[in-house]
Symmetry: C2
Subunit: 244 residues, 2 copies
């Protein structure tokens, strides 16, 4: 990972105040869709790539996982996650996903929420995930959607007649995207959906589900500001399985 | 198929004058990418869904296919395709893809170029394609990209500082999109990439490749007007295989 923005004090402090940081999974509108992709965890070993404050790791244990390994590049986040549990079956490791070695054929589920869009060598990481999963093991991912990430100016445009449109450009031009989110100069790695999925396939995984998250009517009734997520997708979700 | 726009005289006449109609595969900039997904055809049986003027059917025979069945809803196009070959191993059928019965386990390749975005019941068609393929048989598809199809106003916007952006909206809202292309009131069926790929998977096929076509530097040097295709994708390509 080229940048560890989460340990920049201003970023960490502001990130900690986000709804999803305070409320955990319940504060993340895409969580119900992501949860639907997670298989039964009873007795399973779970790997969380980019575990942040550890919300999913704790949820996995509450839902029957035998043991959980959470890895995050941010020392601050790992420290906070450790302070939130005394469960000996959860291990938090402070490491860079692009450099860490993963144990071989050791997990029934690899999970990753909103981390893969920071990864420079996705192909290398997917090869490691493939090796870390047991055969029939599953990968469940959410990441920032390429449509959300691609534009040179990723901000809504309002047309003369009041329509809100998302000014897409540069979609096919892969590489870094620098934006100001919570702090200046956050670097993400743009790839097309085609590249993301073909990379997963070439790593030896079988795609089992693809979804571009959009809010339900109930979610919009509760949080009207989510309506704009129907205009352009913010989150890209997929699941895959190790068949070979 | 709700609409057979290709047999509307004005549309057919104008369509016949497009570069891809006159030059065939060589006139379609996405063809090199699509061709790269087509397996070796020697001795294979090929199904072409939406065969149009029959360019791919003839190409398949020139590249060793044992027999080819092309199906198209347009009587005009089937008639034109028939007039362009005397090859007894190519059969053209004038039928609606949504209603036609396909022979069971009879093809090593199902191919479809720029037709599936007209299909209302994609799930039903994919089930038929699955049944028509032999085990290990492959599906190779190009279709209009959902980003291209979704917007309420699918036309470039030029910002004050001269950037060309694509005004995306309504991406998560699936259903008909009516545009004026060659004639008025052409109806296409918008689905997200997530829905398209998950539909293919649920039909029992394994996704083997996903690609959002973009021009190469060489293509842009030859046809500078293609440069805008890097800003937002026009064509969505994928390949899948019947494993079960």
């Amino acid at each position: 990972m080229g940048q560890n923005i989460y340990d920049v004090p201003e970023f960490f402090e502001r990130y900690s105040r986000l709804r999803r940081s305070i409320e955990g999974l319940a504060g993340a509108p895409e969580w119900p869709s992501l949860r639907a992709l997670v298989p039964d965890l009873h007795g399973r070993r779970v790997l969380d790539l980019g575990s942040g404050f550890g919300w999913f790791c704790r949820w996995a244990r509450e839902n029957g996982a035998a043991q959980v390994l959470g890895i995050d590049v941010s020392e601050n986040m790992v420290e906070r996650a450790r302070s939130m549990t005394s469960d000996a079956k959860i291990t938090y490791m402070n490491a860079d996903l692009e450099r860490v070695d993963l144990p071989s054929a050791s997990f029934e589920l690899a999970f990753s929420s909103l981390a893969l869009h920071y990864i420079e060598d996705l192909s290398g990481l997917m090869a490691k995930v493939h090796g870390a999963l047991v055969p029939t093991g599953q990968l469940v991912v959410s990441m920032e959607h390429p449509i959300y990430m691609a534009p040179s100016h990723p901000e809504w445009m309002v047309t003369a007649d009041g329509r809100k449109t998302w000014p897409l450009d540069g979609y096919a031009i892969e590489g870094p995207r620098t934006t100001d989110w919570l702090t200046r100069g956050v670097v993400k790695r743009h790839r097309t959906i085609g590249t993301i999925l073909s990379t997963v396939i070439r790593a030896g995984l079988t795609i089992t589900h693809v979804e571009e998250w959009a809010p339900t009517d109930e979610q919009i009734a509760e949080r009207p500001e989510l309506a704009e997520e129907r205009e352009r997708p913010m989150f890209f979700l997929f699941a895959a399985r190790r068949d070979r």
